[in-house]
Subunit: 460 residues, 2 copies
């Protein structure tokens, strides 16, 4: 976004964002129907950046670009595209173009591309793959969605566990088609069960007669093919893994996951948590208004029903409000403060659950701490708002009422903020679904009830 | 959290969380002052898991554990600990213990450990390092905080660009102490400027007489030593980098960043965004109540002042509310809906800015889309709540008023939700600081003004 930054030779800003000038040039080339210029501009770019350009230009510009750029689309660009655009772009390609683009991809990327398509489209793409690749992709699709089996690549570099360094090096030197990406040689027993791995760096710096088993990494850990990809990402981050062997139910090696895929999952999971907390379904900036609107409506409906519940609470105190309009004036303060305190506690809890930092050892301590924090902050604001309330309306008891209501509401807010996500997690539901909207509503209801209820008792 | 899961041999749940049984056993060993048992339990664990245990047990248990575990503390555990606990744990170690723990660490981990300490403590640790390491650490500390210079490791594996594969392999085979982690051999020109890199896998599978220059990776990208670590993490994720050379202002190679460090930064940046959006300062679950409370007070104060502003708005319509208490009852619905719609738009915008998905090419389109989404959703809820309002209070015009107020408020909420973070980003301020609390308040003020203002005009 920062236009003052210098653009590098490939048109990226210093912070790796797409430069304004690059985008302007691309749009100009599209408008002038200048396919030579367009190719010149796009050719030096990484496929992830080309995908970003496709996402950021308008739908009309995108169609024009795809027409002008005919025949140059690469599978990598498809794989980098937002899911919502992928289908649009894939439909714009001729069958043979699509086939060629897909054929260059690694099988794990093909799986990623296929899993969101309808069956007939899937078949179309599967048909163009080579036999071995097709079998691999079909096999991967049998694993549950978002599992390690979908994420792994099947190209492996293994060695019998009894080999020496010399044997391993000679073997690698003799291979013609090693995988594009591999960082370890995995040791396996005669039943293909992984027993350790050796980094290529360690391999290269060890004497030929050293035993592979003696130079394995401590960090070695296997991942079950059915493991949720969120846990896979957690394991990579927690244990600084670079790659990890994936095993089936019998412990046999079936694939390997590399850290770049785990990093992408970590990033997606984070996006999901953040959006869920805000009550937004996943989508893309290039979605149309009506799709975006639809994705946001469900939580707004939940909010509406919850807000109506809060209104019912207020309605019970109609007479009190009619007598003291000051109550209507101060009501939103109790609600806002409670909502905010609840969101704070909720966010901290959701994050801690995502990083597996809440366990049986500390769950009660964490809950107790939240209650105490709610109480301390409640007292702080009870004093401040109590004085303000008194001075504003010249009614000492009104100050006492708002103070007491704040203590109650901040305490309940903190408690709900931590307990709701912990319970959801225990039930196997994503705690981020305890969205801010939900906790805010709890605090609205409690806040209004405490404030107006106390007022009825004390002021009337 | 899920206690039904099976625990693995090392005491972890299937999803890599610390198992309940493991934690219970550790606490039992602590209570029985059984240091042999404790060592047996902790020894097989990864340092990251030991750090998690230290974070999750109570302060008293932690002190007891550190006493029982005397002499076994490793530098890796210190580096994995939350910053808030690190100081506490480091102070519990005897100087020679600390020295030994630190000496085993890579220099980038030492930098990470040192940067949060006071100068006298820093000096104490610097003194125990070997000369070469101390110089490296001191040098790293001269780079700005959160920059690539702090993140990089200085252990490098380079080759002159004119070498052949054979020369490179022979060189690597002859080295005694290659870095713990390296995945590429970096090619440099005579001025030590990196010109490309070759993966070890490619190196191993290429013929001896192939030129290194001919087998370099396309993904090659250098990172400036002053680059913000957030942008570094972005680049790794965007371009699927595994490692990247870091260069100084003259383009000379000074270090290398590996993806595991970039992944950790990505995770921390996520945490920061999430917590900032909720108006919470960074901290740890093991912080004390009073520290936690202090971290949450600032935004609660902002909320309070903003809520008071909303109350002032309401106060202007005191007479209208006294006449129609139904207004006080329905007020919170307008505020809640607006607050929720604003938070949705805000979260989507903050995320898109973090992934550099908003640029000059689409910023106006994104803003226009938000306004339209706000309008569409506003109309949907205007109809629903309009009817509910009419039926509930039997006043058709009240339905019209709440409907109109919802359209205005949802439109303003969506607009504020996207414009505020975009402007902050443009100004170089973290857009996540446009926390939900802030946008909620804008929508409270606008919502109350629209609802009560319209009511005064229409109903009176």
């Amino acid at each position: 976004m920062n236009t003052e930054q210098q653009e590098n030779h490939d048109g990226l800003d210093e912070d790796f964002a797409l430069g304004d000038r690059l985008i302007d040039n691309v749009i100009e080339a599209i408008e002038q129907r200048d396919s030579v210029r367009l190719t010149q501009l796009l050719e030096p770019l990484h496929s992830a950046d080309i995908a970003d350009i496709l996402e950021q230009i308008s739908a009309g510009q995108r169609r024009a670009l795809l027409r002008l750029w005919k025949g140059e689309m690469e599978g990598e660009v498809l794989s980098e595209l937002d899911e919502s655009l992928r289908e649009e772009v894939m439909e714009s390609l001729a069958p043979e173009e699509l086939a060629e683009a897909v054929r260059d991809l690694e099988t794990d990327d093909v799986v990623d591309l296929l899993e969101d398509l309808d069956a007939p489209q899937q078949d179309e793409i599967l048909e163009v793959l080579e036999d071995a690749d097709r079998v691999a992709v079909e096999q991967a699709l049998t694993y549950p969605e978002d599992s390690a089996g979908r994420l792994m690549q099947r190209e492996l570099v293994v060695a019998p566990e009894h080999w020496t360094v010399g044997q391993a090096i000679d073997y690698l030197r003799s291979q013609q088609d090693l995988p594009e990406q591999f960082y370890h040689m995995i040791l396996v027993d005669p039943k293909m069960r992984p027993t350790g791995y050796v980094t290529l760096g360690k391999l290269l710096s060890s004497p030929r007669d050293a035993k592979m088993q003696d130079i394995v990494e401590d960090s070695f850990r296997t991942i079950s093919v059915n493991q949720d990809e969120e846990d896979v990402a957690y394991a990579f981050n927690q244990y600084h893994l670079i790659s990890a062997p994936v095993v089936d139910d019998d412990g046999r090696l079936v694939g390997v996951i590399t850290i770049d895929d785990a990093m992408a999952v970590l990033d997606e999971e984070h996006e999901e948590d953040m959006l869920r907390l805000a009550g937004v379904g996943e989508g893309s900036l290039s979605d149309r208004v009506i799709e975006t609107s639809k994705r946001r409506l469900p939580w707004l409906f939940v909010t509406m029903f919850a807000a109506i519940a809060a209104s019912f609470v207020i309605a019970q105190f109609e007479d009190t409000i009619a007598e003291f309009v000051a109550l209507a004036i101060l009501m939103p303060i109790v609600a806002s403060m409670g909502g905010n305190a609840g969101t704070q506690a909720l966010t901290v809890a959701v994050r801690a659950l995502a990083t597996k930092d809440i366990t049986s050892a500390n769950v009660w301590r964490v809950i107790r701490r939240e209650v105490l924090v709610g109480m301390v902050n409640g007292v702080v604001f009870a004093l401040v708002m109590g004085v303000i309330g008194m001075l504003w309306f010249g009614m000492p008891m009104l100050g006492v009422v708002i103070g007491a209501a704040l203590v109650i509401n901040l305490l309940v807010a903190s408690l709900a903020g931590v307990v709701v996500p912990v319970v959801l997690d225990k039930l196997g539901i994503d705690p981020a679904l305890a969205s801010g909207a939900f906790v805010t509503t709890v605090t609205d209801v409690v806040g209004f009830f405490a404030f107006l209820g106390l007022a009825s008792v004390v002021l009337l």
